[in-house]
């Protein structure tokens, strides 16, 4: 088992590595502007870690998202955990999580301590910041589409997931589990097809 771990470390150290401070400061920056739930954070994490600095490939990023989605906890925290770990192991995880919750925690503390009654003043600024998020998420979907939605089957999976999450309000974790069951059954049943395809 120990050898397994060593192999993993060797393999992963080949990719471009950010410093721990870089991980903290990037995730802090992201956490500071993530309004309206964790999903709004995904496009920014993707931009900062895959597009601006090639720490991760698009495909690696989506794989981490799949894992982050299947577990309890805020999606932003799970994604930071995994991105941090992938880049710099456990210290990376700690810096990424601390970073992503740094500003939210400070702001709530400030509200709880003193500025509770003044927070209305910041509301226009904050709702202004939320306005572009519809476009941001939609364009992220378009960009991810190229690498992650490739076949007709993928399009159907996309459409079914979109409908049951948006209109039937399915819990995301239930949806991932359903997808997991589908994926396992399908790949077990069509083993031969896959071999031919390769």
């Amino acid at each position: 088992m120990r050898e397994d771990v060593k192999d993993l470390e060797l393999e992963e150290s080949e990719s471009k590595q950010p410093s721990l401070w870089e991980i903290f400061s990037i995730t802090a920056k992201i956490g500071g502007v993530t309004l309206g739930g964790g999903y709004a954070m995904i496009p920014i994490i993707r931009e900062e870690f895959t597009q601006k600095r090639s720490f991760l490939t698009d495909e690696e990023f989506t794989t981490l998202l799949v894992i982050a989605q299947s577990l309890p906890g805020p999606i932003a925290v799970n994604t930071s955990t995994l991105v941090g770990y992938k880049l710099r192991k456990l210290p990376g995880t700690i810096c990424a999580v601390l970073g992503s919750i740094f500003f939210p925690t400070m702001i709530i503390l400030a509200i709880a301590m003193v500025i509770g009654q003044y927070y209305e003043v910041f509301k226009p600024f904050l709702s202004g910041m939320k306005t572009p998020l519809f476009s941001v998420l939609l364009i992220t979907v378009l960009r991810m589409w190229k690498t992650d939605v490739r076949t007709w089957e993928d399009i159907i999976i996309f459409a079914v997931t979109f409908s049951i999450v948006s209109f039937l309000k399915f819990n995301p974790v239930v949806v991932i589990l359903l997808g997991l069951v589908y994926g396992v059954i399908r790949s077990t049943l069509f083993k031969s097809e896959r071999k031919n395809g390769k």
Binding site: L71, G73, P104, A112, G128, V175, R194
Partner: protein, 174 residues
């Protein structure tokens, strides 16, 4: 049982059961901190929810920080916030480790492949949550269209875009 220990155990549980994140976990949080522990009132809890909607950060973390502070001061908020992320972090790491161990397995590979469109669809679905913010006013519609164009055709990043929209918001959303 000391208050700090109680805070730690309560938020450890909240972190462990908050599947799916977002507003689906509000019920479990209010169950623990309002009904069971009676640390804050339902009114206070609704205030936290309202504040969380317009400040950054996951609602679970924000609630933990606020309740922790109310119950045990700054140290209390530190404990509550740390404990709420402990289980999610641990599970994420275990899951990642399992994935790495089996990432060459054909079934694992193709299953992950099938889950990619699922994740993309969830992000698409999350965009619907911002319809009111983006299309609820004339200024909102203009900002929405301009930001789509900016993101598609320029190299301006998401963060500067949000900050500029925030500054515009000061003038148009007061």
């Amino acid at each position: 049982m000391s208050t700090y220990l109680e805070l730690f155990l309560t938020f450890l549980q909240i972190g462990a059961v908050s599947f799916g994140g977002g507003y689906s976990i509000l019920k479990s949080i209010s169950h623990y901190v309002v009904d069971v522990s009676k640390w804050i009132t339902l009114d206070e809890f609704n205030d936290i929810v309202a504040i969380s909607q317009s400040t950054p950060g996951p609602i679970g973390i924000n609630a933990a920080t606020y309740v922790g502070y109310k119950v045990g001061g700054v140290f209390g908020s530190l404990i509550a916030t740390t404990s709420v992320v402990l289980v999610p972090i641990t599970l994420s790491l275990i899951m990642y480790w399992l994935y790495r161990k089996h990432s060459e397995n054909e079934i694992v590979k193709s299953t992950i492949q099938k889950l990619r469109p699922v994740v993309v669809a969830m992000i698409a679905s999350a965009s619907l949550g911002f319809l009111q913010d983006s299309f609820g006013s004339v200024a909102g519609i203009i900002i929405t269209i301009v930001s789509a164009l900016v993101l598609l055709f320029t190299k301006v990043g998401i963060l500067p875009l949000m900050l500029i929209s925030g500054i515009i918001g000061i003038f148009v959303f007061h």
